[in-house]
Amino acid sequence: METVSLLKRLSEVPGLSGVETPVRALVRELWTPLVHELREDGLGNLVAICQGSSSEPRPKLMLAAHMDEIGLRVTGVEKGFLRITRVGGTDRRVLPGMEVTVHGKKDLPGIIGMRPPHVLPPDQRDKTLPWEEYFVDVGLPEEEVKALVRVGDPISFRREATELKNGLLTGKALDNRVSVAVVTLALEHLSYTAHAWDVVAVATVQEEVGLYGATTAAYGVAPEMAVAVDVTFGRQAGVSNQDSFPLGEGVTIGVGPNFHPAVVERLKMVADKHEIPYKIDPIPGRSGTDAWAIQVSREGVPTGLVSIPLRYMHQPVETVAVKDVERAGRLLALLAASLEPDFRPRWEDEG
């Protein structure tokens, strides 16, 4: 699969938290040829099983990437304009001038315009305005809007993914569609690579609103080991070196209480062996990613986290290095291939 076009497709497809249908359909299409079994669980997670070669019952490695994205939701219709609120951590500072798609009875293109600076009171000109000042305009008269759009309808950002220079790609929803691409590349790699364990790939839902998809997915899959894939802060102007990672210089591996040392060690070992560059991302508590929901499932799941450095998180210009996405895909596939049938991530004194 060609990574740039894969990333573009995944970036551009809508799929807000709780309304993931369009992105789920795309992931289903991408994964179907690569796996043995595909199911959707009660919350809408897409669960794909890629069978291993060892004898049954086989241990399961769960790879989780959330497919939902942040966005907006209609809260009212006023004079034909749509009042909005956010779904997930949408940053309203970047909304003015945005093009969106309103998912009403049919998809409607819309835009977010603000009052012109000329008519704003001077004390408001340099400020981020409250949500009450934001409206979506779909261009239709009030009666037609009301016929097509209801309170509660989702609104997604409309943004073509674009290649920047130097192997970078920018677009909306790259948090966390890059990781869906990573898992897709890993599944493709595994389709021609021997592996003893079952690999259970999960495109999770509702991560941006509370890690809910991963919570039920991990319970249902009950894996022996799991790795969540997500994005981390890329180096950009105004962000300190200790809080961010350079784009294009490799993936990150999370270290801290959220991650089992044996999983971390195995990830590092595989990366070292195959010369896949990585950096250590120290995370002192819950990681805020699916890795936390998975780790505390049932009696606990040994879990790791692989992240792609990304600039401008939660803005429609999220930017990653394509190289890092490919490296992460390789790392996950080679991790799966490295697992001996009797390997279990255990504490030294676990017995």
């Binding site: 209480p257 991650f259 250590i280 499932s297 676990e350």
Partner: protein
Amino acid sequence: MENLIRKLTETYGPSGFEDTIRAVLRAEVEPFADEIRVTPLGNLVAVKKGRGGEPRRMLAAHMDEIGVIVTHIDEKGFLRFTPIGGVSPLTCLGARVRFENGTLGVIGVEKREDPQKAPTFEQLYIDVGATGRADCPVRVGDAAVFERPFAAQGRRWVAKAMDDRIGCAVLVETLRQIEPVAGDVYFVFSAQEETTLSGAMTAAYGIEPEMAIAVDVTGTGDTPESRPMAVELGKGPAVKVQDAGMIAHPRVRDLLVQAAEAAGVPYQMEVLERGTTDAAATQLVRSGIPSGCLSIPCRYVHTPSEMVDREDVEGAVRVLLQALRIP
């Protein structure tokens, strides 16, 4: 118990890095437990088998402690860090920290515009005596705990990590003294309480007890100009009614009161406005596990000099022994 408490409080074990403290605790409980296991999150579970009846009960004391984790190392070998759990920048000034590999670090602070103001973590760094990145003996992702020796003075014991090694000591002592009761008793030395409560949460899922009792420290209101709180050092262990994370199940609360009265141990009722314990997590496991907490009053919680009263600690052991005998 003093030697045990000294040993437990002086051992290294920040949240998520509990291997060392788990090994120390394991050696303490091994002679007295019928079964021992380590769970996927790194909890140590010691089982005291009962006489084949009910109920199955779980006691939990967390073995992890607050600390710091290295986020960046500069070219001169100075470390930047972020806290693991509830660390205050104020207690970092002049503090020493110890890494798992034995490396000692000193916490320094940058020049500040207003030295009267408390520093932020971004202004603090750890100096391990390295001359550059190359000879720095620790790496990004390594964790450290505060370094402070245990001390006994009068009725009081003072140490770092009294939260919650004192609870661990109470559990060890209870396990040593207990005769088999009707049901199995699970002594859980939990991981990761200070960050997420995820150790006790997952342990409770595996054990599926009929009741869970956390043993942890609580604050006091008996020091100069302290936040008002009706718990004092030396007035006995405290039976938790409510804290910021839970309301104790009445059945657990009443069992602990009944046990204290039957054992003739003075006790206090506790309402804690800030902070919570493993019980907040265990009560939500599966279809709900009645959970409560027996608290050890402790001054200066989350500083490297946490102070408890020995009679409160010894009283807690007697209350637990009595409570476990009540069906």
